[in-house]
């Protein structure tokens, strides 16, 4: 079953269209990266999923059911613009936010105790948020997002402003939550996060979805069929592949970039290479998500 399916979601404002016929399929237990430049419509989409605003058209179903008010407790949301009540104590804050998500007071108390012990911030229970460091406040925010054990967790730029230690802690907990059955949606433009964590990705640009799929599928789609070859002795090649560049590394060693022609296969190319040079390494040049992202966004904006 899919964690979330969006079909033809559209949101118009008086002067612009924030989302134009966006459809997404987010599989259960995946870590799903929602990518796109600023203003592309990611936050609008997330707000629609959180029922903060309503879509003008389109349908959203969550775990097979049509999205409705009862699903508020199913979702945990950490917005990009996030904060806490400054004058409220950490404990009261956690209890309040969890109760708003539908937990009873005793459930909220039990789970918040569990989490603050896990995050080693037990001593902060009676401290006001304004007295916390930024890192501490971030831990509290994360706890409040996941405390009601949501099946779908939506994190909007979760690592912005996190120090590496906290980022590591959050990452570990995200993976643990996923392993325990939660589905996680990342909205980000930090490509290393996508590269490290996400298994599924969608790119939104100018209020339209451009690509969607597993990370592997997308990389396959946008790979350039280029290969980097380290070899002894120079050579030239015609036919099977086009030589992009060749440079000397040291002595008689060279690094050559080849672009395979359509219809060729890597195995055949290796065979051709062995005939003309001593091959030391043969690596397919896989584009990074960052390269794909930039190319797609730039390519589209040139139109």
């Amino acid at each position: 079953m899919e964690a979330l399916v969006a079909k033809g979601v559209t949101k118009r404002y008086t002067e612009h269209v924030a989302l134009d016929d966006v459809s997404l399929t987010i599989p259960q237990q995946s870590i799903y990266g929602l990518l796109g430049p600023n203003g592309a419509g990611k936050t609008t989409l997330i707000r629609i999923v959180n029922q903060i605003i309503n879509a003008d058209a389109g349908e959203i179903s969550i775990f097979g059911e049509r999205l409705a008010e009862k699903h508020i407790g199913t979702i945990g949301y950490l917005p990009e613009e996030r904060g806490l009540y400054k004058k409220l104590k950490v404990g009261e804050q956690l209890l309040y936010l969890a109760q708003l998500k539908g937990l009873s007071r005793s459930e909220a108390l039990e789970r918040s105790k569990k989490w603050i012990t896990k995050f080693e911030i037990k001593d902060w229970w009676n401290k006001k948020v304004e007295d916390l460091s930024k890192g501490m406040a971030q831990k509290v925010q994360f706890i409040s997002t996941v405390m009601h054990e949501p099946k779908l967790i939506i994190l909007d730029e979760p690592f912005s402003g996190f120090d590496p230690v906290n980022a590591q802690l959050i990452t570990e907990n995200i993976l643990e939550l996923r392993d325990n059955g939660s589905t996680i949606i990342f909205s980000t433009h930090r490509m290393e996060t996508v590269e490290d964590l996400c298994d599924h990705v969608a790119l939104i640009n100018k209020s339209k979805k451009i690509v969607e799929g597993t990370k592997k599928q997308i990389k396959d789609t946008y790979k350039s069929n280029s290969f980097e070859v380290l070899h002894k002795g120079s050579f030239t090649m015609n036919g099977a592949a086009e030589m992009v560049s060749q440079q000397k590394v040291e002595d008689d060693f060279y690094k050559t970039i080849l672009k395979m022609n359509a219809g060729g296969s890597p195995n055949k190319l290796i065979g051709d290479l062995i005939a003309v040079t001593e091959v030391h390494s043969f690596i397919e040049k896989v584009p990074t998500m960052s390269e794909i992202f930039i190319n797609l966004v730039k390519g589209k904006s040139d139109e």
Binding site: Y13, T14, R47, N50, Q51, I52, I53, N54, D56, I72, I75, Y77, L78, P79, E81, R82, G83, L84, Y85, K86, K87, L88, Y96, L97, Q99, L100, K101, Q141, S144
Partner: protein, 442 residues
């Protein structure tokens, strides 16, 4: 519904648990009586210790004879005006009064020289002295003696009786009602403004601390707004109840402890001591009649009805304006920015407040008072300002129904602006933008 209740609780506790709430709640009812008591005490002390002012008199007409009074001691001078002025200048005395020869029919040229600007009160006291002497002179001229004059004086004290629809008679007294109604009107104005601004600050606070998006992912913006409004209203009601309790307790116990009496009683005793026995009996008779009458009027004021009406209009007015304050808070990022929108909101409230003194307590049944107490935006202050004077039931019911309709309307308008505004930050907001937000579909 359950979630609104959670928010109400949170908003209530947030404020009630603050030290500033405790301080304000306890100190306000202590400070105001203390200030009023202090001022009254100083006034009494000053009146007691006040020395008579020395007035030099140069009377060229020779028609005046001055008797020293509590307020003035007169020093009769003679000689040329310039010389007298010079002499006066060497002293520290209050004034120099110059009276030239004058026509009785048209006295003019009388002058008063002082070193500082004298108070209006003292000048008029001195004028009274002069006028009464000239009047006496005129009486003499027209051959009217004091007895004839006293015979001409007639004093009528209208006993005010309200004839109700059932023909029942009730004592009433405009003076007492005037004070009571002004006070209630001011209270409504202050409460609505103070608590309304608290709502606005609460909303701005949620926006600047960026908690709001987390909250609205759990509850509807409208629930958040209503929770906040109701939560702060309950703080207001609690505070109000405590004030009344403390105020009543402190006033009665402090007055009792120091053996102080109400100012009227004190005055009465002073008057008595100055009169001889025969007059005293007469005064006592009329005085006690006055006191019984006063108590009678107090007894006839429908306090239960007034309290109910006061609470109704406090809540109604608060809800009406509270929603608007919430909308303003949602539209801006800082309190400074809020000011431009705050003024148009508070304007009708201010109109009600000013009309309270200029129109309503003077002419509580006039057309202006009627309309102001019917229109929802001014009715909280205006109706409370009229209520003790007696308002026909149909007017009261109409006004209440319109007020309820009014706050449902403002809450609806405010809710539409609020739901968009709280998620917008860094936007330059003007009325056009607000209108656009209002129009956005849900």
């Amino acid at each position: 519904m359950n979630k609104i209740w959670l928010i109400v609780q949170r908003e209530f506790l947030n404020r009630v648990q603050k030290k500033s709430f405790l301080i304000a709640t306890i100190l306000v009812p202590l400070i105001f009586p203390a200030i009023i008591g202090g001022i009254v005490w100083f006034m009494i002390e000053e009146a007691k210790s006040a020395k008579a002012e020395v007035v030099h008199v140069l009377d060229e007409s020779g028609r005046f004879e001055f008797k020293d009074s509590k307020k003035f001691t007169f020093l009769v001078e003679s000689g040329a005006l310039d010389q007298v002025k010079e002499n006066y200048n060497k002293t520290q005395d209050f004034a120099l009064l110059y009276i030239p020869t004058f026509e009785l029919t048209n006295p003019s040229g009388l002058a008063m020289y002082t070193k500082e600007n004298p108070s209006v009160e003292k000048v008029s006291d001195l004028e009274n002295v002069l006028e009464s002497r000239i009047r006496d002179l005129k009486l003499e001229q027209y051959n009217i003696d004091q007895k004839t004059l006293d015979g001409l004086k007639t004093k009528i004290d209208l006993k005010q009786i309200n004839l109700s629809e059932t023909g029942e008679e009730k004592n009433s007294n405009s003076g007492i009602l005037y004070i009571l109604d002004s006070f209630l009107g001011i209270m409504i104005y202050i409460f609505v403004l103070v608590y309304g601004i608290q709502i606005m600050h609460g909303v701005i606070d949620e926006k600047t601390s960026k908690i709001v998006e987390v909250i609205v992912s759990s509850v509807k913006p409208f629930q958040l707004m209503m929770g906040k409004i109701i939560g702060i209203a309950s703080v207001g009601l609690l505070q109000f109840t405590i004030w009344i309790l403390i105020g009543t307790f402190v006033t009665s116990s402090v007055l009792g402890y120091f053996g102080l009496k109400m100012p009227q009683q004190q005055m009465q005793e002073q008057v008595m001591s100055q009169l001889d026995a025969e007059d005293a009996a007469k005064v006592q008779e009329t005085q006690s009649k006055g006191v019984t009458e006063f108590l009678g009027i107090l007894g006839e004021i429908p306090f239960a009805k007034i309290t109910f009406v006061f609470l109704f209009y406090f809540l109604g007015g608060y809800l009406l304006y509270g929603a608007l304050f919430a909308a303003v808070g949602s539209a801006v990022d800082t309190i400074q920015e809020a000011q431009q929108f705050q003024f148009p909101i508070t304007l009708p409230l201010l109109i009600g407040y000013m009309a309270l003194f200029l129109v309503i307590v003077r002419d509580p049944h006039g057309p202006m008072s009627f309309w102001l107490s019917i229109i929802p935006f001014t009715s909280p202050v205006a109706m409370v300002g009229r209520i003790a004077f007696g308002v026909p039931t149909w007017e009261l019911v109409l006004s209440m129904v319109l007020l309820v309709g009014g706050f449902i309307f403002t809450t609806w308008v405010a809710g539409r602006i609020y739901r968009v505004g709280i998620l917008m930050s860094g936007t330059k907001v003007n009325y056009k933008v607000l209108a656009k937000w209002f129009m956005i579909k849900n």
